[in-house]
Amino acid sequence: MHILDFEKPIAELEGKIEELRHLGDGGDVNIADEVGRLQVKVDKLLRATYAKLTPWQKTQVARHPERPHSLDTIKALIEEFTPLAGDRCFGEDRAIVGGLGRFRGRSVMVIGNEKGSDTESRVTHNFGMAKPEGYRKARRLMEMADHFGIPVVTLIDTAGAYPGVDAEARGQAEAIARSIEAGLNLRVPFVAVVIGEGGSGGAIALAAANAVLMLEHAIYSVISPEGCASILWRTGDAAKDAAEALKLTAQDLQRLGIIDVVVPEPLGGAHRNLDLAMRNLGDALEAALKGLEGLDGGVLRARRREKFLEMGRQGLA
C-alpha cells in the first residue's frame, strides 16, 4: 500500500505485524499475542491520526493513489453498467466516464471523473483531467437522462480541467459553462458526490446538483493548495498554509452550507476498506435520491437553481 508521510509510524507497526506473522507460521502463542497487541496499537494510532487530519493531510488522502475512483465506485454500486461514449462532436474523452446503470433497483445516469489506477490507465484517462469533449459528453448524457426521466449521479474526482492548447482551442471555458448550465436545468433528481479531489471549474462542471455529498476525507476547492500558494504566497512550499486557508475539507464545507452530507469513511480512509467505504456511500446516495424522487421536475429544477442563487447571500456569516 502507498504510505503517506504522516502514516509512517502506522506503517512501521504494520510492518512489524507482518514480520511476526511470518515467524508465527508454526502456531507460536506468544507471537499471536504480540500480533494482537500490535494490532490494537495500530488501530489506536490510526484512529488518533485520522480523527484530526489537517487540511493538507486530507488533501493527500483525497489524492491517495489507491483511493477508490469513479470506476471502482461504479463497479461496487452500479449494476448492469452500460458505458456510453463520445460528445457527437469531436471525440471520446476518457477522463470522464459515464453511462446508464441500475443503482439499488432504479435506473440512473452515472457520470464521473476517472483518474486511472496504474500508469497505463492513468494515461488512458488523462489523469482525470477532462477536455471540452469530456464536458460536452457529460452534458449530452445529462440531457439524455433528463429526456428519459432518469436521475443523474455524478462522481467528482479531478485535479481540474486539462490545461492544454487543444483544450483551449476547442473551447474549454464554454464546455464547462454549458455543463454547469445543463446540470442546473435538469428536471430529474441530480446528486453529486465528491469522492476524492474536487478541483475547481472541472469539478463544479459536474456538481451543480440538488444534493452534494462528500466523502469524509475528500476535498473540494476553487484552486489546488499548491496553485493558491504559488499565487498568494509566491511559493509552492506554502501549500500547507493554503490548504488551511481555503477551507477545503468536507467538514468545513458542510459548515459553510456548500455541501449537504459528509459520508463517513472507514478507519484510515476509504482505501483501507473498500467494501465498507462503498456501503456507506451507497447508503448515503440512496438516502439522497429517495429525498428527491417523487418531486416534480419543475420543483427539482427550481430548488436547485434557488440553492445556487442563494450562495453568497445568507447563512454564511
Partner: protein
C-alpha cells in the same frame, strides 16, 4: 552648510530635478512602442492610433462610451457577506479589501448600471479590472444576480462586460459557487427572451470565462483581448512547449468558432445597438448610428 550648498546646489538641482510636468502625460503603447499624448489616447478610447492596440479601458470610461450621451444610472448592490473564510495569506483578506477600496473608491469589482443605448433601455454589468484583477467573489456574483433581476424587471437586454482573471481565491469555494450562481442569473434573462450579450474585454479567463461569460446569445470581443480558461503560464508548464502565436487572443477564439465577432472599440456601441435592435425586432434608431467624428474616411467607407 557653507556657501556651496547654499548657493550652487539649488541651481544644480534645478537641472537634474524632475520637471514640474506630471510623468503620465505621455503613454507608451505596449505593442508598438509609440509615445501617445494622454489626451489623444483618451479621445481614441485608449486605442493606439499607430498600431490599433487596445489598451485596457477604465470601467467608468467604458460605461460613458457605451450609453447614450454617456449618461447612466448606477444601482446600489446588496452587500455580500464579507470574508466568509476569514482568509489570510501573507496579508489578511479584509486588509487587502480595505486597501483596494481606498485606492479605487469602489466597493468591489463590478458596476451595475442602466440607461439608454440607441434609445433602448439596457442593463450593463461591467467588471472593474483595477479592483483585485476583476476577480469574482460573492459581491461580484451578487452584482450579476442584481443586474439580471433588473434586466428582467425592466424588460431590458443585459450586457455583461467581463474583465477578470477569474475566481477570487480568498473566498475559496464560495467564489467557485459563483460560477453556478451567475449561470442561473443569466439564464433567467435568457428565459424571458431578453437578449444577453457578452462583451469580452481583456482579460476574460478562469472561472469567469467558464460560466456566464461564455453563455451569451451573442459574444463580442475586443481586438487582442485574452480570453481562455487556463492561464498561459499554467499551460506552458503543463505541456512544456511554446504556445502558438496569438493563442487565447480574441482573433484566435473567433477563428476557433468560440465567439461571434471581434469589434474595434470605437464601433462597439454601434454594433451593440444594432445587434440588440435586430434581436428585439425594433426599427433602426436612425440618427443614433451616426459614426463617431474621429473615424477616418477609409474606415467609414468600409463600415458603411
Amino acid at each position: 552648510m557653507n556657501w556651496l550648498t547654499n548657493y550652487v546646489r539649488p541651481k544644480l538641482q534645478a537641472l537634474v530635478a524632475p520637471k514640474e510636468v506630471p510623468d503620465n502625460l505621455w503613454h507608451k503603447c505596449p505593442s508598438c512602442g509609440h509615445m501617445i499624448f494622454h489626451r489623444d489616447l483618451d479621445k481614441a478610447l485608449r486605442v493606439c492610433q499607430h498600431c490599433g492596440h487596445h489598451m485596457r479601458l477604465p470601467v467608468k470610461r467604458r460605461l460613458e462610451m457605451l450609453f447614450d450621451d454617456g449618461a447612466y444610472t448606477r444601482i446600489e448592490l446588496p452587500k455580500a457577506v464579507e470574508d466568509p473564510l476569514k482568509f489570510r495569506d501573507q496579508k489578511r483578506y479584509t486588509d487587502r479589501l480595505k486597501e483596494t477600496r481606498a485606492r479605487t473608491g469602489e466597493h468591489d469589482a463590478i458596476i451595475v448600471a442602466h440607461g439608454k443605448m440607441g434609445g433602448m433601455g439596457v442593463v450593463v454589468a461591467a467588471f472593474n479590472f483595477d479592483f483585485q484583477g476583476g476577480s469574482m467573489g460573492m459581491a461580484v456574483g451578487e452584482g450579476l444576480v442584481a443586474a439580471a433581476e433588473l434586466a428582467v424587471l425592466q424588460d431590458a437586454p443585459l450586457i455583461a462586460i467581463p474583465a477578470s482573471g477569474g475566481a477570487r481565491m480568498q473566498e475559496g469555494i464560495l467564489s467557485l459557487m459563483q460560477m453556478a450562481r451567475t449561470t442561473v442569473a443569466v439564464d433567467r434573462v435568457k428565459e424571458k427572451r431578453l437578449p444577453y450579450i457578452v462583451l469580452l474585454s481583456d482579460p476574460t479567463t478562469g472561472g469567469v470565462s467558464a460560466s456566464f461569460a461564455m453563455l451569451g446569445d451573442v459574444a463580442i470581443a475586443e481586438p487582442g483581448a485574452v480570453i481562455g480558461f487556463a492561464g498561459a503560464r499554467v499551460i506552458e508548464s503543463t505541456i512544456r512547449e511554446k504556445l502558438p502565436d496569438g493563442f487565447q487572443k480574441a482573433e484566435y477564439l473567433l477563428d476557433k468558432g468560440m465567439i461571434d465577432m471581434v469589434v474595434h472599440r470605437r464601433e462597439l456601441r454601434a454594433t451593440l445597438v444594432r445587434v440588440i435592435s435586430l434581436l428585439r425586432n425594433r426599427a433602426p434608431a436612425g440618427e443614433l448610428l451616426v459614426l463617431p467624428r474621429e473615424m477616418n474616411p477609409e474606415d467609414a467607407a468600409r463600415s458603411v
